[in-house]
Amino acid sequence: MTRIVLARLVDLGFVLIGISALVFCMIRFIPGDAVAIMLGANTEVTPDRVAALRTQLGLDQPLLVQYGRWAWAALHGDLGTSLWTGRPVVAEIALHIWPTVQLTVMALGLGAGLSVPAGCMMARLHGGTADTLLRLGSVAGLTIPSFWLGIVMILALATLAPSLQLLGYVPFFDDPLGNIARLLLPAICLALPILANLSRLVRSALLESLGQDYIRTARAKGLGEARVLYRHALANAMIPFVTSLGIMTGYLLGGAIVVEQVFAIPGLGRLILGAISERNYPLLQAVILLVTAGFVVVNFAVDLLYRVIDPRLRG
């Protein structure tokens, strides 16, 4: 077990080095640099000022030197300061991480939580009209883009219940109910594709295992249909379920960028988008590193979960 964890940590190290180098180069290949954007299009700018600012920010150095400096500092725990605000990058991230974490947890909870009963229901109703309708619904859930759904939900709510104040974000500890109320719509937006995807997965995995010999044995022992379904069939359907769940956690962030934009939530997605358009290199590097690390860690956790779910791997 320790060996596996260690091996995984080494993997994580390699992934982070690779990603940081890749991100470092890619964002610098985008034309237009931070200084040009910072000074704006219409201010009284002299070449001296541009040069001075470039030197001050270290952007006049060769790429390799810039990366070396950054990586060295990062290894010492210093991820740099935001080019625009001068605040430490870590502080900027700390300000923006909670809305996104909360949104991710709520979306995962809603999507994954509802997908098991939904999938079971679809498997039980297998072949009937209800099953077909549910499956059609899940296709819609998979294909409707979240930004469109978000805007439609906002419009619908504004028409149906105009007195509700559901735009924006309030911190949980200032106003717990207001916080949850405001995050609910975006969480639903993000949860819908997860729900659709996972419930289809649960359905097909269940149907597959229901055809297996051990299910026939269970039924032959005289177990009730519910116990057969939940105790025997569902337990075996959990392995692909957990794998998908891990991957989706990573994709949630991509969705969060769009949904945070639509619902005006000050989370990591907005931070990333702002950092890209400002060419805020240190901030962007740090956020992407963080997200990548998060993705790898979640998938590592999934691997560990396998050992809990699948007795064959416990040996």
Partner: protein, 504 residues
Amino acid sequence: MAAISLRNILLTGAMLGAFVVAPMARAQILEVGVDASPVGLDPHLITAFPSFQVVSGTIYEGLTAIDKDLRVQPSLAASWTISADGKTYVFKLRPGMHFHDGSPVEAADVVASIRRVKSKDMASPMASRVGTVDQANAIDATTVELKLTEPTAPLLISIATIAIVPRGFEADKASLQKAPVGTGPFKFKEWQPNGFIQLTKFDGYWRAGAPKLDGVKFNIVPESATRQVGVSSGQFAMLANIDAATAMQLKGKPNVRLVETLELAYSLIGMNTSKPPFDNAKVREALNYALNRPEIIAAALFGAGVPGGPLSPALKDWAADTSSFPCYKYDPAKAMALLKEAGVTMPVSITMNVLPRQDIKDIAQVAQAQLNKAGFKVELKNQELGQFIQDWRNSSFDTFASTNGGSTDPDDYFYRTFRTGGSTNVFKYTNTEVDGLLDSARQMPDPAERKKAYSKVQAILACQGPIAHIAYGQIFSAVRSNVAGFEQIANRSLVTLSDTSITK
């Protein structure tokens, strides 16, 4: 299943929401929806509009102020005198004014603020606005004297944009960016990055009876559809400075009122005069003849705008009427004749860099179609903002379609844009007659004489200058019908928030 659970969850959300809304006390906080987050709030260091919108006239004030007719009014200075040679200005401050931190506003603060803007170390983008101020002296606690190197006619307007800050910040580059301290009707309370900026009423404001609101909250909402829902549902009381397209969608919504005015900002096509074909004045003139401005306004701006010359018609004291510019009469045949005279091979192949903003993209497309019918062959380059600015700064373009903010005094815009070597003369335009007129006009104390000089400049620039000015748009703000006292100003300043109130 998905649909059913969705509806249930929506209902749950609605009930939760109802609990939240009920107990909120109704202080008069004006909720404003804005599209972009400021990057800093230091009045001498900011360059971008989202920052100015939040601080100008709300948190910060200058010695003078610009009113809604774009004329100079007293602000922190109650009065001033100008010496006969136009080189010494003496400002008399109002007595008993305070900064938001409680300290009194004195002449020493004004002097420190002007030194701060001029300081090399601070590298303020506004430095050139006080470029001719040689010395600033505090005569006594309420008297400031400015000594100029030469007479500077636009000084009273330029100085309106120089915010007065407490003297302690003179060498401090960081603090005001995050926590501004000014003299205005509202003081800074809280900034949640990417979330909102909240200002509250400043009880010690010098003007009696203002502000009427208890506070202003700028909610940063990047998505246009969300902002529109915000104001039509009443969560926001105001969307400030919106374009015609958004305004048309909000028109007629119950309880939403549009406030509008003709703005200083304009759309333009810029031409690079340092290389063929636009080094030839005839080609520039041909481009002007080839543009059908009314058609562009109808198609791209929903009719909400007017054709304009080098100065906005909103500047009633200065702008020449477009009927005095022959090339503003659409005439593709004349354009082709001019191209033939210029000796260029037709069609003249040119590229046009396009600023990534919807109205500008629309304008560029209509202009492309018109130009292609009059002897040009235009290739549009839709660019990302960073790339656009880089090409603009490096003069690496044939033409570009863009928008400019516009200035209250003609000198500010003309001198840096059209003077040989001007700081934003990216067209590399040079015309000795224009240079001479601009150099002398900024020293003329007599407004009538200045006006004559600028009329000449406008006549030269309108048809053969490096910029084809296209249109000055209407600028709108949408407010809830219970918002009173707010007026839209051509320079997009929200200074009238001090007289705004929310009625029941």
